[in-house]
């Protein structure tokens, strides 16, 4: 291996946890530059010429439903962990908070809010979490919040 001196590598054990991540960072950086040059520039030209649009502005964009889903989900996770701490190891946080969450999410996704649909949504919001909670937490002893 006398003439392969350039390819010799020695790794300091104390720093070995950074060796591979460093390579990955360089790879990511090189590819990012390549993408910017090979694809970003043509894309920018098309954008200026008005032949293409930004990724988030094409097609239908239903902001209330998208952001509603995210906000509801965050509220669901926060409240679930809070209520779950009040009744530890029972899965009740999951049960109690899933019902309003599912009800609200269904309402958000509904297009025609008439009585028949509302009834279906309500029934589903009660039955699905109760069944899931009973089967998983009670029958199968699976940990739930």
């Amino acid at each position: 291996m006398g003439n392969s001196g350039l390819l010799q590598v020695s790794i300091d054990f104390a720093q070995s946890h950074l060796f591979f991540p460093r390579i990955i960072h360089w790879l990511l950086l090189i590819m990012l530059v390549l993408i910017a040059v090979l694809q970003g520039i043509p894309y920018y030209r098309e954008l200026r010429a008005g032949r293409k649009s930004l990724p988030f502005t094409s097609g239908p964009f239903d902001a209330p439903r998208l952001f509603g889903t995210i906000v509801l989900t965050i509220a669901y996770f926060l409240s679930m962990s809070y209520v779950g701490d009040l009744f530890p190891n029972t899965g009740l946080g999951f049960l109690f908070m899933s019902i309003p969450y599912m009800f609200a999410l269904s309402l958000l996704y509904l297009h025609q809010r008439n009585r028949r649909h509302l009834l279906r949504v309500t029934v589903n919001a009660f039955i699905a979490p109760v069944v899931a909670w009973y089967v998983l937490a009670k029958l199968f002893n699976i940990t739930l919040p």
């Binding site: 060796f19 991540p21 990511l28 694809q39 969450y101 899931a132």
Partner: protein
């Protein structure tokens, strides 16, 4: 023959339930087999390995097969792998031959599934025997090869590679594990994250987030359209189904099944590649290629035989090398780990009973999928009409259960779910592809250990080329894969330019 004792009535019931739920998931546009497996995973926490596998394999086979229902009836592929089924299936429905098209698809699916199961049965142990002799150098090269293959078959070579490397990067977050010879230090994080991320992100919350939550967010952005509400099912007006359709299609069936199996073996390559490839081949070899696309059973056969061929194919690298063949088998890795089983070259030899049980489950899943769909297709066709405002909240709830229960109750895993759900949704917008990212994430940790340890023991980069004939052979494969992708990229670019000039 000890594995026979594992085959109790519950085992078969779970396969049945799995394939039925899988079919429903596959049949609902936007839901995939991967999602079915991810969402139902918590159910397996309480089962033992054999029963868990029965359920999961049922879900897998059912999920891949169910996609043909909306493809044929509504012209919407239920899963990406049934895109080409719409080409001929939907015109048949328009002629009133919906039921015939469905049954042609179901029989082809069964054939593809069984063929690939047979290939799996004979090929995986052989491959595993070879792989047992691999040292860290070869193992690293195999992962490297897997990543180049994913990239070469993704829509955009550079973005595919980029997505894969991002996946690797995400996998490196956390501790450099002492049990694999690391020094136990954390990296790629700030100090305040250490209590949460010392172990890195858990695999399953990441997967459930990327495949479950991200899909729902994407649908939410499109406004949760109930696209099936005004559908009328006219299944049976024209020609009836009979097995004589297949008389002249034996070669088509075989070819498509093998294409599906082979594509399934390539890591990270989605089902759409398999069905598109076998559909084009069917067209090339057809005696009347101009008729394909106008409602020929030939096209449905090619598409469905190949996409079910994926199932056995994708399990081959999973069980012999520990590398998942597609995103669904990636979730299966999580399920194995959960049961304390390490998949890799030693898996089959050390778990012969599990391996046999798996084969029985796979075979039964295919048969049950066939029986259920063939005789109950009229009722299954109606599940595409389940309203999404009922379905999606249930799926979100199940995602939470899956993420929370995986490590016996870590709330951070639930936040991981949301983080990767939103992240996956945004990433898809800028062209990052989820499949390579997931494969990179799964293999990233091992890639690091193999790479760093090889260098620590040999001290030179040349070892990756000179270690053994197998290493050199793997380099040949890597060059073929990269060369092929550059070739297709250049060809596509030229065609595009020619097209632009022609305008």
């Amino acid at each position: 023959m000890e594995f026979l004792s594992a085959l109790d009535p519950l085992f078969f019931f779970l396969i049945f339930a799995g394939s039925l739920i899988g079919i429903v998931f596959g049949a609902i546009p936007g839901m995939t087999a991967t999602m079915a497996v991810a969402v139902c995973l918590p159910l397996t926490y309480a089962l033992d390995l054999n029963h868990g596998l029965a359920l999961l394999l049922g879900l897998y086979v059912g999920g891949i097969s169910g996609g043909l229902v909306p493809a044929i009836l509504l012209n919407i592929p239920g899963t990406p792998s049934s895109i080409t089924t719409t080409f001929d299936g939907y015109p048949m429905t328009q002629r009133g031959e919906g039921e015939r098209a469905l049954k042609v698809g179901i029989v082809s699916s069964l054939f593809g599934g069984l063929l690939s199961a047979a290939v799996l049965f004979f090929f995986a142990p052989v491959l595993a025997d070879v792989a047992i002799k691999f040292s860290y150098v070869e193992k690293f090269l195999i992962i490297f090869f897997a990543l180049t293959v994913i990239a070469s078959l993704s829509r955009n070579l550079l973005m595919g590679l980029f997505s894969g490397v991002i996946g690797v990067w995400l996998a490196l977050i956390g501790t450099y594990d002492v049990s694999y010879g690391g020094n136990g230090d954390t990296r790629l994080m700030f100090d305040f994250m250490e209590p949460y991320l010392a172990e890195g992100f858990s695999l399953l919350p990441v997967l459930i987030g990327l495949f479950g939550v991200a899909t729902i967010l994407d649908e939410a952005e499109k406004g949760i359209k109930e696209n099936t509400a005004d559908m009328k099912l006219s299944l049976q007006k024209g020609a009836k189904f009979s097995f004589s359709v297949f008389r002249k299609q034996k070669i088509n069936l075989l070819r498509s099944g093998f294409i599906g199996t082979f594509i399934g073996m390539l890591p990270g390559v989605g089902g759409s590649a398999a069905s598109v490839l076998s559909y084009t081949q069917a067209k090339n070899f057809s005696r009347h290629p101009e008729k394909l696309g106008t409602g020929e059973p030939e096209g449905v056969i090619a598409s469905e035989a190949s996409n079910n061929g994926l199932t056995g194919g994708a399990l081959i690298p999973l069980l012999s090398l520990g590398i998942p063949g597609d995103s669904t088998t990636a979730v299966l890795i999580g399920a194995f780990t959960l049961q304390g089983v390490q998949v890799g070259p030693l898996f089959i030899g050390e778990n012969l009973d599990t391996w046999n049980t798996m084969m029985v489950a796979l075979l039964t899943a295919n048969l049950m999928m066939f029986v259920t769909m063939f005789f109950a297709i009229k009722y299954i066709a109606r599940v595409v009409m389940v309203p999404k405002y009922i379905l999606y909240p249930i799926i979100m709830m199940m995602c939470v259960v899956g993420a929370y229960a995986i490590n016996y109750g870590v709330m951070f895993d639930v936040w991981t779910l949301l983080l990767f759900g939103v992240g996956g949704y945004l990433a898809a917008k800028v062209g990052i592809e989820v499949a390579p990212l997931v494969i990179g994430f799964i293999l990233g940790g091992q890639a690091e250990v193999y790479f760093v340890k090889s260098l620590e023991s040999f001290g030179t980069l040349t070892i990756f080329f000179t270690k053994s004939p197998i290493a050199m052979f793997l380099w040949v494969l890597i060059f073929i894969s990269v060369g092929y992708s550059i070739y297709t990229a250049v060809k596509a670019h030229r065609q595009k330019q020619a097209g632009d000039n022609g305008k």
